[in-house]
């Protein structure tokens, strides 16, 4: 579903991404782990077509994000790390705006929005302006907007930050449900316990380079993911 081949991203002379390569298969929950400033958000932005990159290729379902960005973006949904949304809009207007971008029919969006709003406990909140929401509520609005068009690939940058415990639980269940139905999830996180329990595969990035990638069981061995990560960081 997502093929990342030798991607290089330069910020001036600094290599934020240094020949990053891996593949995320259909129906996988793929965790992307790394220290602060390792390059996680940069790669996520590159995959979503937000940030241009200098070398390499990123293919979404066989299509290049550089050559055919619109077709790639139609397959994906992006949830940013900080929910910087359109603060003056009502939540429902914002979600409708995102649905309009994906050409979602009125009927389909109605069903999806009501379903996901219920899951995140937002069904009676969507008529409020976004700036009146807490961080967690904004995150939930971003998630509802991302899920409302049934994306094949869900890309999330630190999706659990700011969510309350129930929402985190519901989010994890939802992620499992999405992959069960053939979807693919790629997300970055610092919460290693969650990644360990949730992810089928994982990549660990350090200073822009992938230092480990593979099946969770393979990477972890008989240690915890936290231990593996800390050992790699110490090297």
């Amino acid at each position: 579903m997502i093929e990342i081949k030798n991607v290089v991203k330069l910020y001036g002379d600094k290599k934020a991404l240094n020949r990053v390569s891996f593949t995320v298969g259909k129906g996988e929950i793929f965790g992307f782990i790394g220290h602060n400033g390792a390059g996680k958000t940069t790669l996520i932005k590159a995959i979503c077509g937000i940030l241009d990159f200098d070398e390499g290729r990123i293919l979404i379902d066989g299509k290049s994000i550089k050559d055919d960005p619109i077709a790639c973006k139609k397959e994906m949904a992006y949830v940013p790390d900080a929910p910087e949304l359109y603060e003056d809009m009502k939540a429902i207007s914002f979600i409708n705006f995102v649905c309009d971008m994906y050409d979602v029919s009125a009927e389909a969006r109605g069903q999806n929005i009501e379903r996901f709003a219920k899951i995140f406990g937002m069904q009676d909140e969507l008529n409020n302006v976004i700036k009146s929401f807490s961080h967690g509520m904004k995150q939930k609005v971003a998630l509802i907007a991302a899920l409302a068009h049934n994306p094949k690939i869900l890309i999330m940058d630190e999706p659990f930050v700011g969510l309350d415990p129930k929402a985190i639980f519901d989010m994890k269940e939802l992620m499992k449900d999405i992959v069960k139905n053939g979807g693919t999830i790629f997300f970055s996180t610092h919460i290693l316990d969650v990644a360990e329990k949730l992810c089928d595969r994982v990549a660990i990035v350090k200073n822009g380079k992938i230092v480990k990638v593979g099946d969770m069981k393979e990477i972890r061995g008989d240690k915890s993911l936290e231990k593996v990560f800390l050992e790699l960081e110490a090297k």
Partner: protein, 537 residues
Amino acid sequence: MSKLFSLLKATMSEGVQLFNYRAKDERSKRAMPILLALLVGIAMFFSVNAMMAELKEDGAESAVLSLYTIVTAVIIVTEGIYKSSDLLFRPRDNDALLAMPIKKSTIVSARIIKFYLFEMLYCLIFLLPAIIAYAMNVDVEISYYLVAMTMLLIVPIIPITISCIMGLIISAASSKFKHKTFLQIVLSFAALFVFAILILMVNGVSDFDGRSIIAVSDKITEFYYPAAAFANLVTNFDIGQYLILIVINLAVLIVTIFIISRFYFQIITRINVVKHAEKTKTKYIFTKHGQVFAVVKKELIKYFNTPVLLMNTAIGLVLFIVVVGALCLKFDDIAASLMATTEDFPLTLDEMRAYLPSVTFALVAFASLMTFITSTMISLEGGAFNLLKSLPISGKKVIMSKVLAAMLLIVPVTALGSIAMFVRFQFGILDMILILIAVVVIPLVTELIGILINLKYARFDAESDAVTVKQSASVVISTFLGLGMVLVAISLTFAAVFFAGQAAGLAMMNAVFVVIAMYLYFAVATWGKERYSKLAA
């Protein structure tokens, strides 16, 4: 004091950052705003210098200093009134600063000093040319340089304190109500209106025939002490008066900081309370729209919820409405007073009436070219720009939707104003068609230029919308460019009408604007699209 200095350094570096393009390929961008400011300053210098020649004959050269002191002060107050509420009370770093062990008066001082430093730009553009022109035309003493330098530093103080107090009153009043933004806009317009009336009423400034600079200067010095003191100190330096002038300005500043600090916390608290709708089992409406409609709607919501943007871009349109209204209601009186200004006025009343289509065309050009709404539309996306870029909509469509949204704000106003002129003065069909073409084409040119400037100078890291709207490189460039374009367009319109006749002249101008619009559209479709794809918040 050290906290104030540190805070000022931090906030200033953030403000200056908007002009700081450090990447190798972006360094040239620093030059454009400086170059345009310099051009306006030079143009001001030549106009002051010409004025000096007339004043020299009457031995009243110092009048120019009083005049430009008040011009600078009026400009700072006018644009400060609607900017101060946002700059003082709505910066994004309020929460972080209020959580720190810093006195509120220190935070307020830093905000006001930053405001003051940015307003210095107007001193450099309007007052400095007058100071230089005076020094070049009059045999000045060494004390002149001391007084002139001091004036450059203190002239913005009283205007910004007036703006800040008005901002305080507007924020305090609007923060009590549910529809804070709407009330802030209404009160800001009301404050501007009151200020304009006061300026016209003080000692009968409106009674002037506009020809006597000395008379204007004399009247100014009667009601605005710094302007009077400047002229006095230049012609007759007195250390006592010099010190009084400085002390008065500093005292006004300190009292203002004290007053604002007193209410700062309460106002910020009230501003941040957003009325949360009741939890109700609402039936949501799900309607499908096209991408362009959705982006336009989003832009209009942003526009009407950003008072500083609305105020900043509505001034040209408000002036258009006022002038069109005055012409429709009082044309004969206006024409008569114009004809009375000189004995050999070149036009009769009927001839002036015959040229009204050109005047309407020029007014449309003025209102449209002064209204650069798109020049901040990319930057105002802020962090949400990344989200927009992740959506399956092409860069070109986003850009053109923003242009369309801006045009939807301008065209109805200029179209209705033009139609009022058509009806009142019975324009011919051809004139009406030519004006209506201008109503669409000129704002299209303006907004395409605006969006291209913003694409080149986009910054997503401003501390508040007010900083993006009033102090970003993109806005500085579009403001100066707009002024230049207004002058060129109006001059060319009347030149074309004079040489080729009214209909042919207006048709030629429309043709020029159409060609420019086509070129700009091509630039958006190529460079603009490419640039959009490279931007990220």
